[in-house]
């Protein structure tokens, strides 16, 4: 079954999964937008502008960091090739654009993030499905009976672990009672996602390592978790004082 799925969505078709996740996620976010005091149209515009900034910013920053290559073939900047892209640069551009749009439209910071949480949760599911299809973010070798054959070894199905965690997170967030102060829905999603990463990164076979084998992703997830706990507590305290 996994092999059929991998054949069906083999790269570059795995991008379909991300686009589908974006569409489904935005639809779900729209459905619950009013509950968080957000307007559907503004939510759509925010996502659209952030997406444009992600694509354009990622390409532009890639070109800037590889100037000599583009000097010899300047038209490559318009190439449809998705590999000419700097994902972290794209993310920075998208965040900046979203912040500017939010300020201009006077959007509530935490309310908007809460409204967008279903989109983030579905995007995480789409990302893990895309990883499964492409065979990236693969697991370390294992002798456990549920190991999958990938890259000439029997490995932990790390993509499936992460997919299952993302589905559970989405389910929990979708069905929980919504009487918490603004921001806590998003922060709960961030805490659960960081917690899942901290736990599941241990089964990955492609981790970036530092300091004698510590996994960078686990350190980043731990720091995220600490920040999220601190901010959640601050929000709760502020609500209590008010």
């Amino acid at each position: 079954m996994i092999e059929t799925f991998r054949s069906l969505f083999a790269p570059p078709r795995h991008f379909i999964l991300l686009i589908a996740a974006l569409w489904v996620g935005l639809s779900l976010a729209e459905k619950r937008s009013e509950r968080h005091g957000a307007c559907k149209e503004q939510l759509n515009n925010l996502t659209f502008y952030a997406l444009i900034a992600y694509v354009a910013g990622g390409r532009l920053l890639f070109a800037l960091s590889n100037l000599s290559a583009f000097e010899q073939s300047p038209l490559s900047i318009f190439s449809p090739n998705p590999d000419l892209f700097d994902p972290s640069g794209g993310l920075v551009a998208a965040l900046l654009t979203a912040l500017i749009y939010g300020q201009r439209q006077k959007l509530q910071f935490w309310g908007t993030l809460d409204a967008l949480t279903p989109l983030f949760a579905i995007l995480a599911i789409g990302l893990h499905l895309a990883h499964l299809a492409a065979g990236t973010a693969f697991g370390s070798p294992t002798t456990l009976p549920w190991g999958i054959d990938l890259w000439n070894a029997t490995r932990h199905p790390a993509q499936l672990y992460e997919l299952l965690a993302s589905l559970l997170i989405l389910g929990w967030l979708w069905f929980r009672k919504s009487d918490s102060p603004p921001g806590l829905l998003f922060l709960t999603f961030a805490a659960l996602t960081a917690g899942a990463r901290l736990l599941l990164e241990a089964f990955r076979g492609d981790s970036t390592l530092v300091f004698g084998g510590l996994r960078v992703a686990q350190i980043a997830a731990w720091l995220t978790l600490a920040v999220v706990f601190f901010v959640s507590e601050t929000i709760r305290q502020q609500r209590k004082e008010n």
Binding site: P12, A69, L199, A221, W222, A226
Partner: protein, 180 residues
């Protein structure tokens, strides 16, 4: 849960997280550095030996010490045709620095008579290898044409580009990385 209970819970979770990070550290190094041959970034490029269009025999592992672009293609594939001029241009620019292009034609899915005219039409000067038995396709888990594997001087795959055509700038950035 009151504020004190929450803070204790948060601290416990963070302590457990620290312990798990330490326990699950990969002290033997990344598992992909185990020199397992597989067509994925970070793995050793699977070895093969094929005949060229000129009748010579070429083995991938004999090219250790050189940076290799392994391009899987066919004459009937439009993106393969579209990226060939850029590959030729980049090959000419970097070959003196130890860059080699191995263009493996999927002969078992192609028409042999079309290959030589194709090579002449685009003025290709790098070796054209013929996969007549369908050995390299499955070895590199070929799912789309063209597929390109950028292999460094140690024989490790550093980048995989599935589909095309590759832009000239992409080729240059990837080639400069594997030449380092």
């Amino acid at each position: 849960m009151n504020s004190t209970q929450r803070r204790i819970t948060y601290s416990l979770i963070l302590l457990l997280g620290l312990a798990w990070t330490y326990i699950s550290a990969d002290k033997t190094g990344s598992s992909t550095a185990g020199q397992i041959p597989a067509p994925q970034r970070g793995f050793l490029a699977p070895d093969f030996e094929l005949k060229t269009l000129r009748g010579e025999t070429l083995k991938l592992s004999n090219l250790r010490g050189q940076a290799v672009l392994l391009n899987l293609w066919a004459t009937w594939c439009p993106p393969c045709r579209a990226e060939m001029p850029a590959i030729e241009k980049v090959y000419k620019d970097y070959k003196d620095q130890g860059f080699v292009v191995l263009a493996v034609n999927m002969t078992y899915q192609d028409t042999f008579a079309n290959i030589a005219p194709f090579v002449d039409e685009y003025g290709l000067t790098f070796p054209i290898l013929l996969d007549e038995t369908g050995m390299v396709g499955p070895l590199y888990q070929l799912r789309s044409l063209p597929s390109s594997f950028f292999i460094d001087r140690d024989g490790i795959i550093r980048e995989v580009v599935i589909g095309g055509p590759m832009a000239e700038a992409l080729l240059r950035t990837r080639v400069e990385e594997i030449l380092k």
